[in-house]
Symmetry: C2
Amino acid sequence: MKDAPKSVTIRWLAHQAGVSVATVSRALRHPETVAPQTRERILKLVNRHQFVPDGRAATFSSKRTGVIGLIIPTISNSIYAEFTEAIQSRLQAAGLSLLIANANYSAEAERDIIRKLIESRVEGLILTGYKRDAALYDLLRHYRIPFVVTWSTSPKASIPSISFDNRAAAAEATEMLIKLGHQRIGLICGITGVNDRAAQRFEAYRSVLARYKIPFDAELVSEQPFEIEVAADAATRLVTLTNPPTALFCANDIQALGALFACQRLKIRVPKDISIIGFDDLPIVRVVSPPLSSVHVPARRMGHATADALIGAARKNIPVKSQIIGTELIMRGSTMPLVPARTRPP
Amino acid sequence: MKDAPKSVTIRWLAHQAGVSVATVSRALRHPETVAPQTRERILKLVNRHQFVPDGRAATFSSKRTGVIGLIIPTISNSIYAEFTEAIQSRLQAAGLSLLIANANYSAEAERDIIRKLIESRVEGLILTGYKRDAALYDLLRHYRIPFVVTWSTSPKASIPSISFDNRAAAAEATEMLIKLGHQRIGLICGITGVNDRAAQRFEAYRSVLARYKIPFDAELVSEQPFEIEVAADAATRLVTLTNPPTALFCANDIQALGALFACQRLKIRVPKDISIIGFDDLPIVRVVSPPLSSVHVPARRMGHATADALIGAARKNIPVKSQIIGTELIMRGSTMPLVPARTRPP
DNA sequence: TATCCTGATGTAACCGGTTACATAAAAGCT
DNA sequence: AGCTTTTATGTAACCGGTTACATCAGGATA
């Protein structure tokens, strides 16, 4: 037998097997269309030469990439990990791959990523939040790449979203604290200028306060990145105010945990001295002491629904339809009705 | 001007601009080789038609993908997030993309992922741990794809690794507890059968005990997945033994946190009643109360070194050389010398 | 036995951009 | 002014697999 060339190709294998390149291609991609003996002869050569087809040529000639792109704002918050794993498992079952890109909460980085993914001709794109340059949505439509917004509902019919309602969920949490008797409610949330989910949660907080005729006090609000040490510092600042809050609504669990640990360090008892509600319902919130109340975000369900929608779009040209997924406020040991706060010495 | 076709191509743009396809290609990829007026004329058309080149054709004809593959065992442990972000930032600066794949601690899933990445012709591959079917390393060499093992040193010169030494780091932590006077040291680690890093940490724990003539007690060891609730349960079981440990070495921080919270729930004081050391040195361990002692893993530095090595390999054919990166045991408030344990009622 | 249908296989054009090599014009130097 | 060098641009072959269409052989049916 002739020695293998530097790069074994389907053409070379075809020659060795005495068949056409189409037959080798069929043996690899649609083996049931090839006669059993022919198929075995081809696969034997494939294995002997450790042949792995060149995906660059395959995606070029088939005009398919089999890839769905996902852009998340960070990979260090495990709520996105759960969401991503849910998507990945569904896509894998459908024979598609997930390409994960991290935008690091940067609109500019995200723009570059979107263009790169369009250049790669991904067969679908999953976005986080709906707020971005409209031209990017136009470009996706121009290239007929199905897309869907997640982690935020979309106000426009032309921008499909599969998400829970941030405002409704944040309103429910804020309202619960009010119903527990709290009036001075602190908010720790993300940077509303670059994060539309944080902005929506903040708006809901304000609007519920207004609804209950509770004056909005900017001093009780802290916007900062989702880093636990930053959150702990923010909580420390809030709870050591002259007139501190008696409750904290944290727009994500990392911040709620930071707040909890800061209170522990300051010997402020949760929930006796201060109630805390988080958002996401990460596993860790069930394990800390006391277990944190939190808005349960159905990340896995949202991931599955998102993947299913894009599989339908990519494989069967089914348009992506918006869906709203419910959240659930889970009350645990970090919240209780307001009791008169003991005055703490300066 | 003639209407744009269904799919605008470089060929069509060339015709519109009155130049050749090579010139359009140059205008996009190497604009400095095209005369300024020609370049502007071409880019004007590109913008007008919202043209994004077809990456499928580009990667095919150039035989370049510009992609480095990274396989991590999970995306829900944020230590991998830090590592991944470090790699991504370096690659981005070098004009390369990172394709992240999640193996979910499954050797079979990883095998499929490796083959898929070879088929995609990634220009480099970053692996986690060195233990896997040798045929996979052979296949990577066969296709001349540079690779590197991370999160574990490699015993073989033919398998380059860039990592800290798990055994040395785990030995240091175990030894520290012994030097603090602890003899009954519990170990909570990952599943050693599928996780060579867990296996190495476990081996180091055993070997240090042996060195100090401390009998190995299997009852003090708990192997289970890295889930915080499972870790809390494991810790609960260990600390409620008839003859419980006076210290816990947890082979990652998630487990250390689970152990800490379990102790808090059981009113077992850390470090007075039991010392705890974790591994990874996640930000949260600095914030909890008490702050956890932990082996600091230089994830960012390892990420940068790994990316640099593969950029060198992919772009300049520089062979990847193994590197060992140090760790550092950070002692915080969760460890103290052994004091006689109060007898707890059954 | 003849005709029709199905399964297996071959042919060859094609996908869209890249780039080695060639050519022409412009710039620089003597 | 003539020659050399540099810059800008064109030509066209190529990358490796996919697949629409065609063909042939074998099986089924009338």
